[in-house]
């Protein structure tokens, strides 16, 4: 078994003493090299989990370990070097006055040598298609351009843990696929743990594992295929299944027996092709 990079042990959290618990008794592990998607209805606690992982918040109950180290006031500076995060609204995280400065910032903090910085800025900005905007002020970018730059900035620091909190929500489907391909290449190459918080079902399909949140509790955790076979109960908690799963259901209604719950067009068509050649 590979190394545990993130561990939540019975974590509960609330934003103030008078306030309701927004996470209750959450326990889970995430391993090195693993891609985990966190899904759940609005307000189910996903962003709160992300903020707990990099020590922006601390739990009132339970403990959180990152690479074996407990997250607390003393360890957060070390931990934040290992954990890269893209927030839901990129405006909240731009620090540089230009796109290029913004990408450089995290590397400067980590003492990356000058020459390496220059190449990495170039690499990461072209990886997200923003090389023409190096000297633009981040707040003058379009919504999707901001998200691309925020992703470049976090890729540049090559963290051990990368958390993307709805970081591609403003991209068109093609742009989203391209960016996620870039991220997943980096993930494979550097064996980092990738956590994507998303409402995009296509993106969920690509993860190794899914954690489903419901009202502050972990509702389920399993592979995407297992999760998406629970269509009705997912809908009851405000979620849904991808188009291909909906079509698969309609096909079953017409009397077609598929061999498995398809996750993408290729799987569905392959299954249909086999049936077709048998008739």
């Amino acid at each position: 078994m590979s190394r545990k990079l993130i561990e939540f042990r019975d974590v509960s959290f609330r934003y103030g003493e008078e306030q309701p618990w927004v996470l209750r008794n959450c326990s889970f592990e995430i391993y090195e090299g693993e891609w985990v998607a966190i899904i759940g209805h609005n307000g189910s606690g996903k962003s709160t989990i992300a903020k707990l992982i990099n020590g922006l918040l601390f739990p009132q109950k339970g403990e959180i370990l990152i690479d074996g180290q407990q997250v607390n006031e003393e360890t957060i500076w070390d931990i934040r070097k290992e954990v890269g995060m893209v927030f839901q609204n990129p405006d909240n995280q731009f620090v540089g006055t230009t796109v290029q400065d913004d990408v450089a910032f995290g590397m400067e903090n980590r003492g990356t040598p000058r020459e390496e910085m220059v190449t990495r800025i170039e690499e990461t900005l072209s990886a997200v298609g923003m090389e023409d905007y190096r000297f633009t002020e981040p707040h003058r970018l379009s919504g999707g351009q901001k998200q691309r730059v925020a992703i470049a900035s976090v890729l540049a620091i090559s963290p051990k843990v990368l958390i993307l909190d709805e970081a591609t929500a403003m991209l068109d489907p093609k742009g989203r696929t391209e960016i996620m391909r870039t991220v997943s290449n980096v993930q494979n190459k550097e064996d980092l743990s990738l956590i994507t918080i998303t409402h995009d079902l296509q993106e969920v399909v690509q993860a190794d594992r899914v954690i489903v949140m419901n009202k502050g509790e972990i509702w389920d955790r399993a592979t995407p295929r297992e999760i998406f076979s629970k269509k009705d109960s997912l809908r009851e908690i405000g979620l849904d299944v991808p188009f291909v799963a909906i079509l698969a259901d309609e096909l079953k209604e017409t009397g077609i027996n598929l061999t498995k719950e398809p996750l993408n067009h290729e799987e569905l068509l392959e299954d249909l092709w086999i049936l077709h050649s048998q008739t």
């Binding site: 609005n42 309609e250 569905l268 068509l269 049936l275 008739t279």
Partner: protein, 290 residues
């Protein structure tokens, strides 16, 4: 209200070394009562276009007409406030339009500003809160202590509360959970029909554009690349590819099906069930029942 863009260009930071042309010689006409989807790649000028609709920016060149209001490089309507009481805009990032201490005050801000009486505002709050899927116990919370999707819902509620004639939506479902996405699009669609609104939707969901819009405008690098009915526009796979866009998923699947089975199932607005039946008959019997 009818909306007309005539030779509109917009340049950010004009007359500086950083000048950037976001919109170039744009022409289109949207008749009152239409539901128009605007789609385009990152940075193609969609949000810039929308900002003209309530006079947040005025064109650098050309002319924008919204009903009787006219915007040109030299003139802004004198009654800009009146224009804004009739054109409600939901911005791309909800944080950009939330600023009051409580959710209730935030929703009341627009109508108060436009002189709507207190009781009417309270009635409207009661109506819009459930429409966006929030509960009344959130009204006294700070909008900044909400989750991303909850903020989005408050921002939408604030725009609905001004009872606009024109609804301008910049990716309004980004950040909403799947049920919220569906419910809120249905709600916009119902309002659009019942109240005879003119609705302009910027979206990256080709599915929503296909389902709700009666007209689609595709932008590329600040100019109009294509326009037409959703069925016309979304079947042109190659033309869309040129501007880095994809056809809706249902059409992608039908295309992939054709590649594999060498049988074409043309898309003309069928339901998923109807498509399943057609696929069934091809797979089982080797013939299309169409």
């Amino acid at each position: 209200m009818d909306i007309t863009f005539t030779n509109v260009s917009y340049i950010y930071q004009r007359n500086t070394p950083f000048a950037h042309q976001a919109i170039k010689d744009l022409n289109f006409h949207i008749p009152s009562g239409s539901f128009v989807a605007i789609v385009g790649h990152t940075g193609s000028g969609k949000s810039t276009l929308l900002q003209h609709l309530n006079g947040l920016v005025t064109p650098s060149e050309g002319e924008v007409k919204i009903g009787e209001y006219k915007l040109t490089p030299k003139e802004k309507p004198t009654n800009l406030k009146e224009l804004r009481s009739r054109v409600g805009v939901v911005f791309q990032y909800p944080e950009h339009q939330l600023f009051e201490e409580t959710v209730a005050k935030d929703i009341a801000f627009g109508p108060e500003n436009f002189g709507v009486p207190k009781e009417t505002i309270n009635e409207r709050i009661k109506r819009v809160i459930p429409a966006v899927g929030l509960s009344e116990d959130m009204l006294e919370r700070s909008p900044f202590d909400l989750s991303g999707g909850q903020m989005r819902r408050v921002a939408i509620a604030g725009v609905l509360a001004i009872n606009p004639d024109v609804l301008v939506l910049d990716e309004p479902t980004a950040g909403l959970d799947p049920r919220g996405q569906k419910e809120i699009m249905e709600m916009f669609n119902t309002m659009h029909k019942e109240q005879g609104l003119t609705t302009i939707l910027v979206t990256h969901s080709m599915e929503d554009a296909l389902k709700y819009a009666d007209h689609v405008i595709i932008l590329n690098k600040g100019t109009k690349y294509m326009e037409g009915s959703p069925e016309e526009v979304f079947t042109q796979k190659d033309a869309l590819k040129q501007v880095q866009l994809d056809v809706p998923e249902v059409i992608q699947l039908l295309n992939a099906f054709e590649d594999k089975f060498s049988i074409s199932i043309p898309f003309h607005g069928q339901t998923v069930q109807e498509i399943a039946e057609t696929i069934h008959s091809i797979v089982k019997d080797g013939v299309s029942n169409e």
